[in-house]
């Protein structure tokens, strides 16, 4: 499955870029799977996702808990807790 990944704030800074499109292996089915798979892709990813439980995710621009299935997702975002307002 090909999916666009987007990163924001210090997650983006630690990874080194804001978006990428990647092919996911079929065994990656949830947000949590994707996070731990990404963390093994390189030091930059490992640094960004060192506290995986802290990272927030969105699938197709909607908040998604780590247990959410990513089947059919077009865009998955990872970012720190939000600090708007």
């Amino acid at each position: 499955m090909s999916v666009k990944l987007v990163y924001f704030a210090w997650v983006r800074e630690r990874i080194g870029f804001g978006d990428e499109t990647i092919d996911l292996p079929p065994e990656i089915t949830t947000v949590a799977d994707l996070l731990s798979w990404l963390a093994r892709r390189g030091e930059n990813y490992a640094y960004a996702f060192e506290k995986a439980a802290f990272i927030r995710a969105a699938i197709d621009k909607k908040h998604a808990p780590h247990t959410t299935l990513i089947t059919g997702a077009r865009e998955i975002a990872f970012f720190p807790p939000m600090t708007g307002g």
């Binding site: 987007v6 924001f8 704030a9 210090w10 969105a58 621009k61 909607k62 908040h63 975002a77 970012f79 720190p80 807790p81 939000m82 600090t83 708007g84 307002g85």
Partner: protein
């Protein structure tokens, strides 16, 4: 339907309030909240607001819709700025109008609470010494305040 804008430019709270009340005689209460860029340590040159385009608008619309469903609002305007904002400058505006004050106070308070921890915005500090400071951390109290609702 709420008016929702994300923009880099400053906003005029009085003009936005006038736009809601113009030619209407059924509004008895108008609550206007402005969030400002604060620098108590006097080390900050600016806050840089980053957002997730598309999701930020959608998420604010969802929050506004919930506020409109819970309270009898007769007008709701939300403006959130992005980009570099200096200490003392305005960051966010929420205006809620209703027949009676309870609905307007509640709607504005609710929107601000959810805006802070559910709308995808992040603040980075730029310091007066020219360095880039840390990203502002989310506060546990912001998350805890959601349970009020």
């Amino acid at each position: 339907m709420a008016k929702i804008i994300i923009q880099t430019e400053d906003f005029d709270a009085a003009a936005e309030a006038a736009q809601i009340t113009q030619n209407r005689h059924d509004i008895g209460a108008l609550v206007s909240f402005v969030g400002l860029c604060r620098d108590e340590s006097q080390t900050l040159s600016a806050l840089e607001l980053e957002h997730y385009p598309g999701m930020a608008e959608q998420e604010i619309a969802r929050i506004a819709g919930e506020a409109e469903a819970r309270w009898k609002t007769k007008g709701l305007t939300i403006i959130h700025r992005v980009g570099k904002i200096k200490p003392g400058e305005q960051i966010v505006l929420v205006i809620a109008a209703s027949s009676h004050r309870g609905d307007a106070f509640n709607a504005a308070d609710y929107v601000m609470d959810f805006l802070k921890s559910r709308a995808p915005f992040w603040k980075k500090q730029h310091l007066l010494d020219g360095t880039s400071g840390a990203w502002v951390d989310a506060k546990d109290t912001d998350e805890a305040s959601l349970s009020r609702w």
